[in-house]
């Protein structure tokens, strides 16, 4: 610590502290415009000039470090004159259009000018003129208001790692702009908007209809778009979200958001929101009252229950819904109806990956703090672009790279493209060979520690790829060897596993190989999660084989505090795929689908539709009408993410509060509706609020038993939530095809070249909600098929060509987009839009080891039309 005097007051500050922070800690405010917490000091605006005893010139408080015995004055006549002069300099070119500026009221320049007094207007020359630029879908630029503090460009670079805007020009001709003058064409994280102190860059979404004083309340909540669980603040006016705004330095995101989180919230006001319950009458869904709808559900469920065993009823939980919603659904199915038939789309990749990884390494393996990625000295990524699936987690990887971490990516690098040491972008179906080579190389370099004999035995059984097998990957042996070399040296590595790892080849083998890399390098593991609460729904028991808290299903009794006992059913529950099969074979009669568009989100659409239409009763509780509600017998409007209270668990295991912004909803909170149905079917408990649901859950879940609801405040509650006994160790596990490698096929001699069709994992879309966001649709309005330039050349295709893409399951007409880093032999199709959708063109098989899905029938032919 260092002792110094500020304005005569004795102050203590850390050795590395700047005068600015030392003063702030002592309650002394020094004005700043360019400085902002979280970004490196810049020293440009010169507002924070202070006087230091013994130093002839005024010094900037933001860039000057404290010294023992230093004496600083922050408000003298000379300083005030200097600050007034700086404001005068800024105002000579800043338009005085405050009445029409959306920033008015929260503009730093306005605040400082008010504090130091307006200048006399003695600038006789003309002001710089830059007309308002409205050519970008999200961001309005008014560069004449820009004070060149460069907060935005530094945020874009240092903070987001996007480097999509830069100061161009020099001196008074400096200008902040993206590469193409008009459009940002960037990731649209909008983090530049958070930091702009004036009205130079603003969101187009609330242009001219936003004023800071319109905000009636501000609610801290967790973002509802992906598994990162960013802290965001809903600024509300009535039931309308005016803005979602992060707070710098706060939450797992430390004040960053992504395009979805910042701009996507308008789906809530979509015209296609379900506003009233509906029952199918003569094939048509007709609006009914809540009472009628619930009565209908109860009657029909009772009917099914009386005619069939409980296992004829199943439910699909939702990764978009809160822990409480999912807990309640699970309770209905498992303890009221008496069936273990509950699962979700986490089944496609997240849940089986989590189960498998935890089996290999123990329960703690997948629970990790996202912010720690930044501190890693190396990151290995497999199975999808984190900057698109979980954008703010992806930013952490970029940040690690900038701090010197080695980043190795297996698969398409996407948004990590400029932050990579080794890109191992292999031909689809041959990733396995690359991963296999890395594991063998690492084992050779690092040797075996003996910690986990199960995994070591399996690593030893791997076969060294031969040359044609290596060649078929399209990745050079040299880059694999260099990557192995770097990976072997890491001290604090991180392994990031995305859903695409399981989609082709042998899922258990791929996952085992990446686990082996984590094992050999002693890495922390992060599982990417497309939906915000996949981890939470698993913890709530929304899987067929485990109850809330993760204990395996074993017939028995669970006693609640109020001495009610609940019986765990004995039947083996059906997983999502088995539910589809069950519906087709007639064993499954009723299905309750909570916040999930099954028809849209599963490949082999035809099969799903057939299955759903074979059911006696399909209950769908959602916020939109969609492809799945089309088959429903009864539809219930749900409350959207911003319209309910509860908790969510992020991909690393952090539980955070979801707080209601809007006081009212066109739908109803899901758990309340489910509880009402459960009650009519014999449940005893009643709940006043979501806290009471949580409290019951902690009596069922050994994992949450020791947690305190109040502790979720302030940064959330981190796994294992105070429990100690629940930390299982490593077990033996199964791997398919350990000694074999993907077959090397010779190129077909005739007929068109086949590509592997793969689903896009878009930054701007994450499923049925984002396609209802007008904002997100404005940047990503339509489907496309992406190819790399070589493939396009081989097929004689150019950017924007219209083609027909055909698989054995069907065909679609779509526009070509040429993207550099698409893997060889791959064609990537959007998976967001109703008309042209990857899932309609591919099939799937169920992996016997992981019980996850592997894509099939996705070999495609592309022809120009």
């Amino acid at each position: 610590m260092v002792k110094l005097k500020i304005n005569g007051q004795e102050v203590e500050a850390g050795r590395d502290s700047s005068i600015l922070y030392a003063a702030k800690a002592a309650g002394i405010t020094i004005p700043t415009l360019c400085h902002i917490k979280g970004l490196e000091p810049y020293g440009g605006c010169r507002m924070c000039l202070v006087e230091i005893e013994g130093v002839s010139r005024l010094q900037t408080a933001c860039t000057t470090k404290v010294n023992e015995g230093m004496s600083v004055l922050t408000e003298t006549d000379e300083i005030n004159k200097a600050r007034k002069a700086m404001l005068e300099f800024l105002l000579i070119n800043h338009p005085l259009d405050c009445p029409v500026c959306d920033k008015a009221g929260e503009c730093l320049l306005q605040d400082e000018a008010a504090r130091y007094g307006a200048s006399e207007g003695r600038f006789a020359e003309g002001k710089r003129v830059h007309p308002e630029n409205l050519n970008d879908p999200f961001i309005v630029r008014n560069m004449q208001r820009c004070i060149l503090c460069t907060r935005c460009t530094r945020m874009c670079g240092e903070g987001q790692g996007a480097y999509a805007i830069s100061v161009t020009g020099r001196g008074a001709h400096s200008f902040v702009e993206p590469f193409s003058h008009d459009k940002y064409n960037c990731e649209y994280c909008g983090n530049c908007l958070t930091v702009c102190p004036v009205g130079a860059i603003m969101s187009r979404l609330h242009r001219h209809n936003y004023r800071p004083w319109y905000v009636e309340k501000e609610v801290e909540t967790v973002c509802g778009f992906c598994g990162v669980g960013c802290t965001t603040y809903l600024q509300m006016r009535g039931t309308t979200i005016i803005r979602t705004q992060p707070m710098l330095g706060t939450g797992v995101n430390k004040g960053l958001l992504c395009a979805r989180g910042r701009f996507g919230y308008d789906y809530i006001e979509s015209e296609s929101r379900l506003k009233t319950p509906m029952i199918r009458v003569n094939g048509v869904l007709e609006p009914v009252s809540w009472e009628k709808a619930l009565q209908y559900i109860v009657t029909r469920l009772k009917e099914v229950k009386s005619q069939h065993p409980p296992k004829a009823i199943a439910a699909v939980a939702s990764g978009m819904c809160s822990n409480e919603d999912n807990y309640m659904l699970q309770k209905l199915i498992r303890f009221v109806i008496g069936s273990n038939n509950i699962d979700s789309t986490a089944r496609l990749a997240y849940a089986p990956s989590k189960t498998y990884i935890e089996k290999i390494f123990g329960a703690a393996a997948t629970a990790n703090v996202i912010a720690d990625i930044e501190k890693a000295d190396g990151v290995f990524v497999a199975g999808g672009d984190p900057t698109a699936i979980n954008p703010v987690l992806g930013v952490q990887i970029r940040s690690a790279w900038r701090h010197g971490a080695k980043v190795v990516v297996s698969g398409q690098p996407g948004g990590l493209g400029n932050f990579i040491n080794y890109s191992l972008n292999s031909v689809p179906h041959h990733e396995e060979t690359v991963l296999n080579t890395i594991v063998i190389g690492l084992a050779e370099m690092k040797g075996y520690s003996g910690t986990n004999p199960y995994i070591e035995k399996k690593i030893k059984a791997l076969r060294v790829p031969c040359e044609p097998e290596l060649k078929a990957t399209g990745v050079t042996l040299e880059s694999m060897e260099e990557a192995i070399d770097d990976l072997s040296r890491l001290k604090k590595p991180v392994v990031v596993i995305g859903p695409a790892l399981l989609q082709s080849g042998i899922p258990s083998k791929n996952l085992f190989l990446v686990a082996a890399i984590a094992y050999l390098t002693d890495a922390r593991i992060y599982l990417l999660s497309k939906k915000p609460n996949y981890r939470g729904l698993i913890d709530m028991g929304c899987v067929p084989d485990a109850i809330a808290g993760g204990l395996p299903v074993r017939p028995g009794q669970i006693k609640l505090k109020n001495s009610v006992t609940m019986s765990v059913p004995a039947d083996k529950g059906l997983n999502l795929f088995e539910m589809i099969e069950g519906a087709l074979s007639g064993g499954l009669k009723a299905l309750y689908v909570l916040g999930e568009n099954l028809v849209f989100n599963l490949p082999d659409r035809e099969k799903t539709e057939k299955a759903l239409s074979s059911l006696d009763l399909l209950i769908v509780q959602d916020i939109f009408t969609n492809e799945t509600t089309r088959h429903a017998h009864v539809v219930l409007p749900a409350a959207a993410w911003s319209e309910k209270d509860g908790t969510m668990t992020n991909l690393g295991g952090r539980i955070q509060f979801l707080r209601k912004g809007a006081s009212d909803s066109v739908g109803r909170s899901e758990w309340r509706v489910i509880a009402e149905i459960a009650k009519a079917l014999g449940m005893n408990e009643t709940y006043r609020d979501s806290k009471e649901v949580w409290e019951e859950m902690t009596q069922v879940s050994v994992l949450h038993a020791a947690s305190d609801y109040e502790d979720i405040k302030d940064g959330g509650l981190m796994w294992p939530y105070g429990s100690v006994q629940f930390q299982g160790g490593a077990e033996d596990f199964e791997v398919e095809g350990i000694g074999i490698l993907p077959e090397v096929k010779s190129e077909p001699c005739e007929g068109p070249l086949k590509l592997y069709l793969l689903p896009e994992r878009s930054l701007f879309h994450s499923g049925s909600t984002t396609r209802k966001s007008r904002a997100l649709l404005s940047v990503s309005p339509e489907p496309y098929l992406s190819l790399n330039p070589e493939e396009a050349l081989r097929l004689g295709l150019n950017d924007s060509d219209t083609v027909r893409v055909r698989t054995s399951r069907g065909s679609a007409v779509v526009t070509i987009k040429i993207i550099m880093d698409v893997p060889e032999r791959a064609a990537i199709l959007s998976n967001t839009f109703e008309k042209v959708n990857f899932n309609s063109l591919a099939g799937y098989s169920v992996d016997p080891v992981l019980n996850c899905m592997a894509l099939t029938d996705n070999e495609a032919v592309i022809e120009l039309i």
Binding site: A164, I165, S166, T168, G169, R170, F179, N418
Partner: protein, 161 residues
């Protein structure tokens, strides 16, 4: 549309930048030499050239643009066959450079940053070019010319066809 000629140049640039990267401990630092090389190859640095440089250096296009526009001597628009860099800083000014500037305006209709209609000359008004002992001075392309007078400037410029 990428023509064969541009594709060839792109390939040359790729090799050149690969070679230049060896001179610096960090890839990013190759940016200035890479831009000079691109300017030599394509003649000037349009958006396409900047995109190439961005791709080959891994520096984003926005940042490449930020760097290019900071320096006053990168050619960011097409220019004439010959570029006149006329110094008008004070050592040249006091020796009559402002008269020369006027001369170029009147005789060649050339003003700063512009190109003659026939595409022969472009004019760049310079800050001090370090030829103050023989002022006024100018560069035409890479050639220096000193102690300019109205007689000799005419003669000098006429030798550039």
């Amino acid at each position: 549309m990428i023509t064969a000629a541009i594709a060839d140049k792109n390939a040359i640039l790729k090799d050149k930048i690969k070679e230049l990267k060896r001179l610096y401990p960090q890839t990013r630092s190759v940016l200035l030499p890479a831009l000079h090389a691109a300017e030599d190859l394509y003649g000037w640095l349009g958006d396409d050239a900047l995109e190439q440089v961005s791709m080959l250096t891994g520096v984003t296009t926005a940042e490449v643009k930020g760097v290019v526009s900071f320096y006053s001597l990168f050619k960011t628009k097409p220019h004439g066959r010959h570029v006149i860099y006329l110094c008008t800083n004070i050592a040249c000014l006091i020796m009559g450079a402002d008269t020369l500037e006027e001369y170029l305006q009147k005789t060649y209709r050339l003003s700063n940053g512009e190109t003659t209609a026939d595409g022969r000359f472009s004019l760049v008004i310079m800050e001090c070019i370090g030829a103050c002992d023989r002022a006024p001075a100018m560069l035409v392309n890479d050639d220096w010319h000193f102690n300019l007078t109205m007689e000799n400037i005419k003669e000098i410029l006429e030798s550039y066809k």
